[in-house]
């Protein structure tokens, strides 16, 4: 579903991402761990075609994201660290607007159900987003991914700053999406969430994917040791 071949991004002499080879299949949740500046967000930005690769390629469902960005964006959903919506619109209006952009038209009641299923309190559905917490906005993002029937989820530190309850709810929603065959690439600092939710884990350092393994093959303590080893070297 998601694939990179020697994907590289350089800014002058600085290499932000170096020859990344990665494959994420349907139903996989690939968690990218690493310090700030390790290349996690760069990878996601390349899949979104916000930036163009210096060399190599990235494909979604076999389609090159650089050559056909509009087509690949039709099947993906993106939730950044801090999902910003239009503060003067309600959660429902935001969802309606973004669904419309993706060519998905739902009745207001259906959108309300989607928001509710994504964990947003009923009272807040018709309130302006300026009154929402970060967790509530992330839930609207999940509702959007569901409404758009995205086949691919790109998550850039989505649980950063969320309280444990909201973080846990978010993970449950990801697992629901996983069960539906959605391929997920999630950049995160949260080792626990990566081990708990991810099917695969990669550790990045200075633009290089230094480790890649299935999460079932390591326990949390080993993961932590491995992560710290790379961070300290």
């Amino acid at each position: 579903m998601l694939k990179t071949n020697g994907l590289t991004k350089k800014y002058g002499a600085f290499t932000a991402l170096n020859a990344l080879d990665l494959e994420i299949k349907e139903g996989d949740i690939f968690c990218l761990l690493g310090a700030n500046g390790a290349g996690k967000s760069t990878t996601i930005n390349l899949f979104l075609n916000f930036i163009e690769p210096t060399s190599g390629s990235a494909t979604i469902n076999g389609i090159d994201v650089t050559k056909h960005p509009l087509e690949t964006k039709q099947i993906l959903s993106y939730i950044p660290e801090n999902l910003m919506l239009y503060p003067n619109l309600t959660g429902l209006e935001n969802l309606d607007f973004f669904c419309g952009l993706g060519g998905k038209n739902y009745a207001k009641a259906e959108l309300g159900v989607l928001l509710e299923q994504s964990g947003l309190q009923i009272d807040f559905i018709n309130k302006r987003v300026q009154n929402y917490s970060k967790g509530m906005r992330q839930k609207v993002g999940i509702a959007l991914a569901r409404a758009r029937e995205a086949k691919v989820l790109l998550l850039d530190e989505p649980t950063s700053g969320l309280d444990p309850k909201a973080s846990n709810e978010f993970s449950e929603l990801l697992l629901e999406m996983k069960a539906k065959g959605v391929a997920t690439l999630m950049a995160t600092h949260d080792l626990f969430r990566a081990k708990d939710t991810g099917t695969h884990i990669g550790i990045m350092k200075e633009g290089v994917l230094v480790e890649k393994f299935e999460s079932k093959d390591v326990n949390f303590q080993d993961l932590e040791k491995l992560y710290l080893k790379h961070m300290h070297n």
Binding site: L76, S77, P80, F97, L101, L154
Partner: protein
């Protein structure tokens, strides 16, 4: 539904919920209302005063009693410049050109009673007309409405989310342009319709030609101007990294367009093509009348030559033997020579005005505000060319009127007979009242080709630029 329509709907919804936009729109609406109200009041008052004065002067002319036609020619009459109904929208140069002129034999008097003379310094700086609100304040509303159109999305992070939905920057930009244009049209359209209704309701004797077409073109031109500023504002916002930069850039453009360039060009035009002072202008006419245009044929020589030619033509020895009153013929000859001198001097003055105007037209290619201002005055018939046209028609009327008096004197009175000869009401009635109609819209449009080219080029250029930049821009920082 098309993406840009969805974006436009969202933008309109957000704009309506933002208090600043509503407050600014209300201010513009109130200013438009006040300016239109004062425009109507001023138009009605002035039109009423002009009609009353014109009627009184006509009555005076008809009731002046029996007298010699040349005395009547000096008794003269007043002509009042009628207001065009569209002057309630755009005062143009009406405030600075005179409203009435005294017509008599031998002299081309200057227009008197410029409204600006009676105003205090603040009003002289620029009266609040509806045209001024739309030309200068409306762009400010557009700037405040659209300066953050992209920067806010970048700052908030919603632009990345929008783009991740597979929406192109081009669609986002045109959605925003469409939204702001629709919001502004909801202000402009009822106002233009109001002008249309008021114009037909207030229209007094048809001074202005092609009224419907003029209003239609005014509406279209103002829409084009608004569209242009919307695209410019969205474009600047797209290219700016933060809202503050976008606002500063747009306000700089606004100040350049509406204040600095027009004032600088007016001063530059005045320095490049200076006008003679009124004193020098009048002295020049007087001197050429006295000494002849070549400076070698004074009035006495010209009269002696005329006398000699007529005596020879009619084979008589003295002017008393001529079959007409020589005094009437010589007066008309003197009048016609004076007209010739006036045409030369007036022509020179017009030439300078035209050069200054032409310079303004060329500069308008780089300044859409100046282009719109000129077109607006032209279509409202309150521009310089309308004023010149009126002066020409008044002068033509004066010449016909004086010629009638002189011809009567030549044909019906005897040489040396002055106080003994008189004419009365029939003669006064034969001098028709002055009626004025503005030039046709076609002749007005011909004068503003460069201004129309300017607006059209600006729009095309900005559309192409917006399309080009949205296609080339990547969201790595957005």
């Amino acid at each position: 539904m098309k993406t840009y329509i969805l974006i436009a709907k969202k933008e309109i919804k957000i704009a309506l919920r933002e208090k600043l936009v509503l407050a600014l729109s209300s201010i513009i609406l109130v200013l438009l209302g006040i300016s239109l109200f004062t425009g109507v009041i001023s138009y009605q008052q002035q039109q009423k005063a002009i009609t009353k004065a014109q009627d009184e002067k006509r009555k005076e002319w008809l009731e002046q009693g029996d007298k010699h036609p040349h005395i009547a020619a000096h008794f003269g009459t007043f002509i009042f410049k009628p207001k065009t109904v569209l002057s309630l929208f755009d005062f143009g140069l009406d405030t600075y050109t005179g409203t009435s002129v005294y017509l008599e034999a031998h002299y081309q008097h200057q227009f008197m009673f410029r409204p600006a003379q009676d105003h205090n310094s603040m009003i002289r700086f620029g009266e609040l007309s509806s045209a001024l609100v739309l030309q200068i304040l409306m762009p400010l509303l557009i700037i405040f409405l659209a300066y953050a159109s992209f920067t806010k999305e970048k700052e908030r992070g919603t632009l990345r989310l929008l783009n991740s939905q597979g929406v192109t920057l081009t669609s986002i930009a045109w959605g925003k342009v469409m939204a702001y244009f629709i919001i502004l049209l909801t202000i402009l359209t009822p106002f233009i319709l109001g002008i249309l209704l008021l114009s037909y309701w207030l229209k007094t004797p048809d001074t202005i030609t092609d009224l419907g077409m003029r209003i239609g073109l005014l509406g279209t031109t103002y829409m084009a101007y608004i569209f242009l500023f919307v695209v410019l504002s969205v474009l600047v916002s797209l290219k700016s990294s933060v809202s503050r930069n976008a606002l500063l850039t747009l306000l700089t453009c606004w100040i350049l367009f509406t204040i600095i360039i027009p004032k600088t060009m007016a001063n530059f035009g005045e320095s490049l093509y200076p006008l003679p002072s009124m004193k020098i202008y009048k002295e020049g006419i007087l001197k050429d009348k006295e000494n002849g245009l070549d400076g070698k044929t004074p009035k006495a020589v010209r009269m002696a030559k005329l006398e000699k030619e007529l005596l020879k033509k009619y084979k008589v020895d003295s002017v008393q033997q001529l079959p007409f009153n020589f005094e009437g013929v010589s007066m008309q000859a003197g009048e016609e020579y004076g007209d010739k001198v006036y045409d030369v001097h007036w022509g020179r003055l017009l030439n300078i005005f035209n050069k200054q105007n032409k310079l303004g037209s060329y500069v308008s290619l780089f300044n859409p505000y100046m282009a719109l201002r000129n077109i607006s005055m032209g279509l409202s018939a309150t521009d310089l060319s309308a004023s010149v046209d009126f002066q020409k028609k008044v002068e033509n009327y004066r010449r016909i009127f004086i010629k009638k008096m002189n011809n009567d004197m030549a044909q019906n009175s005897n040489y040396g007979e002055f106080y003994e000869y008189s004419v009365g009401l029939d003669m006064w009635k034969s001098v028709e009242d002055f009626k004025y109609k503005t030039p046709s819209i076609y002749s007005t449009l011909k004068k503003y080709v460069l201004e129309f080219v300017s607006l059209f080029s600006w729009i095309i250029l900005l559309i192409l630029l917006l399309n080009y930049i949205t296609r080339k821009t990547k969201l790595n920082n957005g």
